[in-house]
């Protein structure tokens, strides 16, 4: 039976909003007690000395792309699991934009089975909202829920037919299912690889106005108001979209929003001379947008930080910018990148873990995200100050497409526990 004490830690408690010295008693996979600062655990008990480092609820990452089924050469459950463990991610909320799309209970069962035999990291799978992510017919939301789908999303394939979307949202509401949208007006953003403005125009890249996000969000929120559905916007990345979000929340709609760690820490200029590792979806924004989104995160208007982990092989990135694939791997860099916001003084550690752990867990009703007694012992121990220079070839992901290659980062994961079992570093 697992029974041990984690002592001499700095407990990052996102619920209480505190960062205080203390420890945890772990028993049968759960947090059995919170210990005072001086506690060393009873004599004879197994003790993990945290050496004063930060101990927080493990990260719950909404929107992880894994190449199973269909693109295992880019990422498998095993490699994604290793990356997650090394990054302090204890629950991966996986995407349905695979090949084939996860839109039937049978495909979902395959995913769940593959995950279970490949990694100890918890998997909370999403399913598509419409069959084939084609925006025409809704999936079997009820059956998929029974099979374990925690949310429904077509990812970046925006449903253009508002009647289809309205019906899917109404049906999802009757089952209490959360729908995750990608707020983007598909007409305006068609073919775009950059955010419109001086930089994109100089580089000669097809670009989309940041207003396309607001337009997409306003549409989705209108339909949410019509249907009463539970809705989460996957990535809010522009200042222009924030007032609509604020209004919807103020109205009491069941709405939350996330953003990606890349949009919080990088801007459009980082693309420089057509660096395709900086090509993400939606495209990186201007610095004013980045700052507005950081501020919205600090104020709680934006609820969730995601990695939007999107593995792409070398071949799909070593192409002219327009042709190159979008997306970046980020399971392992999520925490050190997000810690830039802490080091820059924008957010406290407990605020950061509200967005990384507590809010996503609560939103999707998955275990974790809390240090309260009775919560699963999904934990990450890290040194927020440890500096390093990222070498992308040291990443555990099968694909190495990170925009942070060669960059100075701060924050090292020292240990990851799931249900009280240490999964990183792997016990010798």
């Amino acid at each position: 039976m697992i029974d041990f004490y984690m002592v001499n830690a700095t407990l990052i408690d996102p619920e209480a909003g505190t960062e205080l010295p203390g420890g945890l008693h772990i028993r049968e996979g759960r947090i059995a007690g919170v210990l005072p600062p001086s506690a060393q655990g009873p004599g004879g008990a197994r003790v993990v000395d945290c050496d004063g480092h930060a101990l927080a609820p493990g990260i719950v990452d909404i929107g992880v792309k894994i190449g199973e089924p269909g693109e295992r050469h880019k990422e498998s459950f095993r490699t994604a699991g290793a990356a997650a463990a090394a990054g302090g991610v204890t629950t991966m909320v996986t995407r349905a934009d695979t090949v084939p799309v996860i839109d039937t209970p049978e495909t979902l069962e395959y995913v769940t089975r593959r995950a279970a035999e490949s990694t100890r990291v918890r998997i909370a799978p999403m399913a598509a909202l419409t069959k084939g992510r084609e925006g025409q017919e809704m999936v079997e939301i009820g059956f998929l829920q029974d099979t374990g789908a925690v949310a429904f999303s077509d990812g970046d394939a925006v449903t253009t037919d508002t009647k289809v979307l309205t019906r899917a949202l109404s049906y999802a509401r009757s089952l209490g299912a959360v729908t995750i949208g990608h707020p983007q007006e598909p007409g305006l953003s068609a073919g775009a690889t950059a955010t419109s403005g001086k930089f994109a125009s100089l580089r000669g890249l097809p670009a989309v106005s940041p207003m396309a996000e607001r337009l997409g969000l306003e549409r989705d929120l209108t339909l949410v108001e019509m249907t009463g559905a539970a809705y989460h916007a996957d990535q809010i990345t522009t200042a222009a979209a924030l007032p609509a979000l604020e209004r919807a929340k103020g109205q009491g709609l069941d709405v939350t929003a996330g953003t990606s760690v890349h949009h919080l820490t990088l801007n459009a200029l980082d693309v420089g001379d057509y660096r395709t590792f900086f090509k993400v979806k939606p495209p990186l924004r201007d610095e004013e947008d980045r700052l507005a989104v950081v501020e919205a995160l600090a104020s709680g208007l934006i609820d969730v930080i995601s990695s939007m982990h999107t593995p792409q092989d070398e071949e799909s990135k070593r192409l002219p910018f327009e042709e190159a694939a979008s997306g970046a791997v980020a399971l392992e860099t999520l925490l050190p990148a997000a810690l830039r916001l802490f080091h820059a003084g924008h957010l406290s550690l407990s605020q950061l873990f509200r967005a990384l752990s507590l809010n996503p867990a609560r939103r999707l009703g998955v275990p974790g995200g809390s240090l309260a007694v009775g919560s699963p012992a999904d934990l990450v121990l890290f040194d927020p100050h440890a500096p390093f220079i990222l070498d992308r070839f040291t990443l555990n992901s099968k694909s190495k497409n990170t925009p942070f290659d060669g960059q100075r980062m701060q924050g090292r994961v020292l240990g990851t526990w799931i249900g009280g079992d240490r999964i990183f570093p792997t016990p010798a």
Binding site: S201, Y274, E322, E323
Partner: protein, 316 residues
């Protein structure tokens, strides 16, 4: 000589001194090109490969002639027709080329940034002959040479660039170059063909020809591609010609000695009236073509000198 670049990928990375150096050398080649014997051996022994991923007659011919007059071994590769269709990537193409040991590689590609990407992977000097909507540096240089010969300078001129700015690499390179040389730039076109953020480039933007052309020293027309005419960006070709086509009435707003330029090929009756294009007192369109050969000779000569100098401090 102050020109140290390894490649000529765009105007963006050139200094005003680089530009002047290039143009001064090009003047010498104008003289050579007008002589009976048009041949020198400055590129003798070097191999120049012209690789065009997009159809082009004029630019490719100009580069070919420039290389031959300088004594290089010139080869044209029609890439659009061959390997790309077989699924070969740009990187593979670059590796194949490396094995042929070219010294100068002239590349045109339909996508912005593709020539930069290629330049990172090959061992020779790369000249950008146009990439997507990004840059077309030799066109801007030949335009600059034409203007300098007509007006005697490149600074303190009012230069109007008219038409489809949004899709034009010629416009971008010209804006960068003429801005660096401290001329005053105006962009004129319907808002659908003006790139977003253009007002932040340090230029003035007009949607009215008469206003935009007022007192201009240079009127630079751009080609409007047929596929943009059918209601997507503008309502019709005839409405475009009415509002933005250069005719005598619109040109009368410019200075009496204003010159008219066009990178070619022209659509007579779409963006420019044929009689203006042919007016030898106003139009320098034929001279632009002549300057093109000279400028390309100068650019290849300078890059070859840097090649011969060996691995120096590389300034891309």
């Amino acid at each position: 000589m102050t020109f140290h670049a390894r490649h000529l990928l765009g105007i963006e990375h050139l200094s005003p001194l680089d530009i002047t150096t290039l143009l001064d050398l090009a003047e010498q080649y104008v003289t050579l090109n007008r002589a009976r014997n048009k041949h020198t051996d400055v590129l003798a022994g070097l191999t120049q490969i012209n690789m065009f991923f997009e159809n082009s007659t004029r630019t490719q011919a100009s580069f070919e002639l420039a290389g031959k007059r300088l004594g290089a071994d010139v080869m044209n590769m029609e890439v659009a027709a061959s390997s790309i269709k077989k699924g070969e990537t740009l990187i593979d193409t670059a590796l194949t080329l490396n094995a042929m040991h070219p010294d100068l590689l002239v590349v045109r590609h339909p996508q912005s940034g593709a020539v930069d990407l290629l330049a990172q992977k090959v061992n020779c000097a790369v000249l950008n002959a146009g990439d997507g909507r990004h840059e077309h540096p030799t066109q801007a240089l030949l335009d600059a040479l034409t203007i300098r010969r007509a007006k005697g300078r490149l600074h303190r001129l009012t230069i109007a660039i008219c038409g489809d700015i949004a899709h034009s690499r010629v416009a971008r390179s010209n804006i960068l170059l003429l801005g660096k040389m401290e001329s005053r730039l105006r962009l004129i076109g319907p808002p659908t063909l003006i790139p977003s953020g253009a007002a932040d480039w340090g230029v003035e933007v007009y949607d009215d020809m008469a206003e935009g052309l007022r007192d201009a020293d240079v009127v630079m027309m751009l080609r409007l591609q047929k596929e943009r005419m059918d209601g997507g960006f503008i309502p019709s070709g005839r409405e475009y010609y009415h509002r933005y086509g250069l005719d005598a009435a619109k040109l009368s707003h410019a200075k009496p000695d204003a010159i008219v330029m066009h990178p070619g090929p022209m659509n007579r009756g779409v963006e420019i009236d044929g009689t203006i294009a042919d007016d030898i007192n106003r139009s320098v369109i034929q001279e632009q073509v002549e300057m093109g050969v000279a400028v390309r000779m100068a650019a290849m000569d300078l890059l070859a000198r840097n090649l011969r100098a060996g691995p120096v401090e590389v300034m891309v």
